[in-house]
């Protein structure tokens, strides 16, 4: 019973991270700002949710697969976000006009 309650609390924390990340995806003005807000919040939220599933189910087949899936999401989601940001910048997507610096364009003059 204690582990069930703890697992549901961890799952609720993860779902609230997911909701805040997608609100950032809708509200922010630029593709890079949206990518930053949404990727960090949703990656951590989904990892929390899968760890909560592991706490609820214990050392069963579902729990072990949830841990494997959490490790996989924590590795691949920032990699995909980095590839998307690099591809967008090299593909010619402009920054928001309120942005103050563009370090990638300074480091890679073309």
């Amino acid at each position: 019973m204690f582990w069930d309650t703890l697992g549901y609390i961890v799952i609720a924390v993860g779902v609230s991270f997911d909701l805040l990340g997608t609100i950032g995806l809708v509200r922010l003005p630029d593709v890079y700002n949206r990518l930053q807000a949404a990727t960090k919040c949703v990656t951590l939220g989904t990892a929390f949710l899968l760890i909560g599933v592991f706490i609820v189910t214990g050392f069963s087949a579902t729990g072990i697969k949830a841990i494997i899936c959490a490790v996989f999401v924590l590795i691949t989601s920032p990699t995909g976000a980095h590839a998307l940001a690099r591809g967008s910048h090299r593909g010619g997507v402009k920054l928001w006009e309120g942005s103050v610096t563009d370090v990638y364009a300074e480091d890679n003059p073309e």
Binding site: G21, C69, F72, A81
Partner: protein
């Protein structure tokens, strides 16, 4: 309790779909697709513990794999390059 969490996840997925429909550039749509894939992994895990069936978590793992491969392919496509460079 757990039903409310599932409804919140579905609302977040609809926010992703809003950005996918409205996004001014193709990069916005690609970002929304990536985020939607990660959200659906969590949705599959929640479905696994609410229904008690075991195979939903397998669907989540394979969804994470396919979403990652699709994101890398879209990033190469947005860079205006072909896939073999």
């Amino acid at each position: 309790m757990i039903q409310i969490l599932i409804y919140i996840l579905v609302f977040a997925a609809f926010l992703c779909l809003y950005r996918m429909g409205k996004g001014p550039t193709p990069s916005d749509r690609a970002v929304a697709l990536d985020i939607l894939g990660t959200l659906m992994v969590g949705f599959c895990a929640l479905s696994a513990i609410t229904t008690g069936k075991d195979f939903y978590i397998n669907i989540g793992i394979s969804w994470a794999l396919l979403s990652y491969v699709g994101t890398i392919a879209l990033a190469k496509f947005l860079e205006n390059r072909s896939f073999d460079e």
